[in-house]
């Protein structure tokens, strides 16, 4: 409670703390339900990043930088592309074309499912990291 007592925007901060878990959960839903409904890595990444941006706007950049550091973001940015490309390379190593997921599992459909899961995850990770980095770069130049 001590943190709140030092702050002026107490209502905003408490409401934000209540909202952020739901935003993150909705982002995960959009990420992993993209196979069945509208959504996917791009949209989920943006929604996931918006939770951190909301945190930055309400609690200040210094606190958000402690939650997720710029260095971690740079690593995540590259990691997403690596997950995507790694899935493609893996399918090549298993004897198929680049990004042909049918060989990733014993059954072609399961392989497709795993492959799409992996590349969407890669897209989501990269988009999240890039969006938060953009926000950091713009907001910390005052």
């Amino acid at each position: 409670m001590k943190l709140y007592q030092r702050q002026r925007h107490r209502v905003l901060q408490i409401v934000t703390k209540l909202i952020i878990p739901f935003v993150l959960l909705f982002a995960l839903y959009v990420q992993f339900h993209g196979d069945y409904g509208p959504g996917g890595g791009f949209q989920a990444g943006v929604i996931f990043a918006s939770a951190f941006i909301l945190h930055g706007l309400i609690f200040g950049m210094q606190r958000t930088r402690k939650v997720i550091t710029p260095t971690a973001l740079r690593i995540l940015m590259a990691l997403g592309v690596l997950i995507y490309l790694g899935t493609g390379i893996l399918s090549m190593l298993l004897g198929a074309n680049l990004l042909d997921y049918s060989v990733l599992a014993h059954d072609a459909k399961h392989g497709q499912h795993w492959g799409i899961f992996a590349v969407e995850l890669g897209v989501g990770v990269t988009v999240t990291a890039v969006m938060i980095s953009l926000f950091y770069s713009f907001a910390s130049r005052r």
């Binding site: 030092r6 002026r8 069945y36 943006v46 200040g60 990004l99 072609a108 990269t126 890039v130 713009f138």
Partner: protein, 202 residues
């Protein structure tokens, strides 16, 4: 009914664009740009392109608005009065706009039954009928995006990655303050004096 909704939404788009051009207040312009994206997302929903609408609403209306607001904090909130070069700019814009409109004349009309997509339906039908059997994905958009056209999406992801690297190298790395020099206060923090008082009361 659908026609009425489309006409109303497109009229909104035109009105918003005129508002953006007329207004000198950059903050209002940014908010109107967000509104433009939201209405455009509505148009996409009417066209049954739910995934595109979702992206437009999240990226165009959400993140872009926030980033524009962040960029606005470096500038003034008012647009500078234009100088004498507005005639040249006007000619340039009119010529470019005319070329763009001329470029769209070749394109098939929306829902045109004689468009190439309709007269050569093999690819579309393959996606629509075989996607479930080949990939097990009920959402055809996802199966096209991530599996059939996975190579394109890899390119898009690399583009996003490159954009992030570019912004970091322009804004992030050069003028980055060391962490310990960064001020410890946050928006909404009370001044240090009042802070002590509050803690004493608590």
């Amino acid at each position: 009914m659908e026609l009425l909704v489309t006409v109303v939404l497109l009229s909104f788009l035109v009105a918003i664009v005129i508002g953006i051009i007329v207004l000198r207040d950059l903050l209002a312009g940014v908010i109107l740009l967000g509104l433009y994206s939201l209405v455009a997302a509505g148009v996409f929903v009417v066209m049954d392109a739910v995934d595109v609408a979702f992206t437009e609403a999240a990226v165009g209306c959400g993140i872009s608005t926030i980033l524009f607001l962040g960029a606005l904090s470096f500038t003034r909130h008012e647009q500078k009065p234009r100088g004498n070069d507005s005639v040249v700019a006007m000619v340039f814009v009119v010529v470019t706009g005319a070329m763009l409109i001329y470029g769209t004349l070749d394109m098939p009309h929306y829902g045109d039954s004689s468009s190439p997509a309709q007269t050569h339906p093999e690819l579309t039908q393959h996606y629509l009928y075989e996607s479930m059997g080949e990939t097990g994905m009920p959402n055809v958009v996802t199966s096209v995006l991530a599996s059939y056209r996975g190579y394109d999406t890899l390119g898009e992801t690399v583009v996003v990655f490159t954009a992030g690297i570019a912004v970091l190298s322009l804004l992030g790395l050069i003028r980055r303050r060391p962490e310990e020099e960064a001020p410890d206060d946050a928006p909404g923090d009370l001044p240090k004096q009042a802070d002590d008082d509050l803690e004493r009361i608590a």
